[in-house]
């Protein structure tokens, strides 16, 4: 069903087409009834102006057909109830005949003009939206082509070197080139994974498959997966070993924590601390990932979860997808994620989500 947006000063809401017809008829009847009650004091011409005013207001908000209905209905009502001879569709003298036809024409022009203006507005709005999409698309292309081209360039360059006359390269150089290829392909793989996750989110079909998970286990698995990436950092975990089991989508939450810890390891200096805490206050699961790096620029904190957003002075390359995936996956669990800078320095991401939990005895002799 086609719907009209009402530009009400404070709230915008939509009115269905059928309701527009009903409201139009009711308004015309109401305004006419008031005019009828006052007809002892005001003449037919004034009533015509009041009805035209009512029509103009309706035309500002409603679609063309309800407006046309209002125009015709108000003309008929004016003719029948107000124009002499009253209670009759017939028109007395020539002057009144001219008045009635002019009323008709003005009402129609009014309806058509407001409709046209609204059409033009719609086209303009669409243009703005298109420009916005195009800008987003360009940002995406720029960041993606950079993120993909860099490792691809490394791989092509290094393999070209390795495939040429072998005598030109020392064994050490060959090994260096090979390890460059290895790093570049892992980086490519990471970006492809981000894109796949993003498209899972964008498809709108992301349904968390929840089952019982042990947060201790999940965090241990992430630290294990990140392996070498964390060699220059100290990773601390603070999770009560008797934390209840929680019902979450293991795969999604694994991605969430992986991205957060991976980011922390990328963007903080060597030898700093990354801390992962999990608690179950009330009916919630609360996970915090903190670091002792430089933190985020305060003015950019609100934007870091936006798709493709990159910190203005970032030294590390990236697509700006990681944190938006984190947010999307957390929201798929009906949770929220907040970022703040810690008073003592460093960033702190806090995830809160409503959770089903199960208290169990995880002690070895249970």
């Amino acid at each position: 069903m086609q719907e009209a947006t009402v530009p009400f000063p404070f709230v915008t809401y939509k009115i269905g087409k059928n309701q527009q017809y009903i409201i139009s008829i009711l308004l015309v009847s109401l305004v006419s009834a008031i005019c009828f009650l006052l007809s002892a004091y005001i003449g037919a011409q004034v009533v015509a102006f009041i009805l035209l005013l009512e029509l103009s207001i309706v035309a500002m908000f409603f679609d063309i057909f309800p407006v046309l209905l209002t125009a015709i209905l108000s003309a008929l009502i004016w003719d029948f109830f107000f124009l002499a001879p009253r209670y009759n569709f017939g028109v007395g003298d020539t002057e009144d005949r001219i008045l009635l036809s002019m009323y008709f024409v003005i009402a129609l022009i009014n309806a058509v003009l407001s409709f046209k203006i609204r059409q033009i507005e719609k086209v303009a709005r669409r243009k703005v939206e298109k420009a916005k999409t195009l800008k987003l698309y360009n940002t995406l292309l720029n960041s993606l082509s950079h993120e993909f081209r860099t490792p691809i360039a490394t791989i092509i360059g290094a393999t070209d070197n390795l495939l040429q006359e072998p005598s030109l390269l020392s064994a050490g150089d060959s090994k260096k080139l090979l390890s460059e290829i290895s790093v570049a392909s892992l980086r490519l793989n990471r970006q492809v994974e981000n894109l796949l996750n993003m498209s899972r989110l964008e498809s709108g079909f992301l349904q968390p498959k929840k089952d019982w998970c042990d947060m201790n286990e999940l965090v241990a698995a992430i630290i294990h997966q990140l392996g070498d990436q964390l060699t220059n950092h100290t990773v601390e975990t603070d999770i009560n070993e008797n934390l209840p089991l929680v019902r979450i989508d293991y795969g999604l939450m694994e991605q969430v924590l992986y991205n957060l810890v991976y980011n922390a390891s990328l963007y903080t200096p060597e030898n700093t601390i990354i801390r992962i805490c999990a608690t179950c206050p009330d009916g919630n699961l609360e996970i915090a990932v903190e670091d002792t790096g430089a933190g985020f620029p305060e003015e950019e904190i609100g934007k870091v979860f936006n798709k493709f957003y990159r910190l203005k002075h970032s030294r590390v390359a990236g697509t700006g997808l990681g944190l938006s995936i984190v947010k999307g996956f957390v929201e798929a669990h009906n949770g929220t994620i907040d970022l703040r800078n810690r008073p003592s320095g460093g960033a702190c991401f806090v995830i809160r989500m409503p959770i089903e939990k199960l208290y169990v005895n995880k002690q070895a002799n249970g």
Partner: protein, 229 residues
């Protein structure tokens, strides 16, 4: 016994080439097939010691190929899956695949999976002792020793550890573990498994928060790795 023979069924030439070079340089004999039809034919005619099967073949769904192969062969099958699609992997493992690898995989991982699958196939049913990292599981006495001292385990903890020991290096799905230890009606009660894994890790891992033996396979199950004997 000569060098084990491996059949690679994958439609992507680069992957076949890569696997051929990797496997041959590690002492395996390699055969390949690019379609399910050709693969089944070669598996039947040459009875290779191990099959590496890609799930996304052009002429047939890899799950179907696996089922057909399992009708007449118990040789180990390692499946290759291109996405990290856990449901796909779990269903292939439940259909009789021995292990899985997700493309892109690391060579070390591939070789470890192959070794473990081949070892499982040649393992005799009668192997009462399993040793790892200072531990000794005595299957005949249903006892576990750590550095020659008996370890106190509950019945369930022991069954789980023994099952892991017997399937060293091999991924075991949640459903499989639940069915084997608790029974077929418990296959969806993941919470039981989570609890006992946590308990067992406290017993056998140096640091239960950094497990080295009982490894989590995301969304699929667990893999027991013995490490140094």
């Amino acid at each position: 016994m000569g060098n084990p023979q491996i059949l690679v069924i994958d439609d992507e030439t680069p992957i076949r080439k890569l696997l051929e070079i990797t496997l041959q340089s590690n002492g395996y004999k390699v055969m390949h097939a690019s379609t399910a039809r050709e693969g089944l034919l070669k598996a039947a005619n040459y009875s290779p010691d191990l099959v590496i099967l890609d799930l996304g073949l052009p002429d047939e769904n890899g799950h179907r190929t696996l089922q057909k192969m399992r009708e007449w062969s118990l040789r180990p099958v390692i499946i290759l899956s291109v996405q990290n699609n856990e449901q796909d992997i779990v269903s292939a493992l439940d259909n009789g695949a021995n292990d899985y690898l997700v493309k892109p995989f690391r060579t070390g991982e591939l070789l470890a999976r192959i070794r473990s699958a081949l070892r499982g196939a040649s393992m005799e049913a009668n192997m009462p002792l399993i040793r790892f990292n200072g531990f000794e599981i005595d299957l005949s006495a249903r006892a576990v020793k750590r550095h020659n001292e008996f370890l106190k385990l509950t019945e369930t903890q022991y069954s789980l550890l023994a099952l892991f020991g017997k399937n060293e290096g091999k991924v075991l799905t949640h459903q499989y573990l639940l069915r084997e230890i608790w029974g077929p009606e418990y296959t969806s009660q993941l919470q039981y498994l989570r609890v006992f894994i946590a308990q067992l890790r406290k017993k056998v891992e140096r640091d239960a928060n950094r497990p080295e033996h009982i490894l989590t396979e995301s969304g699929v199950g667990y893999r027991f790795v013995a490490g140094e004997p």
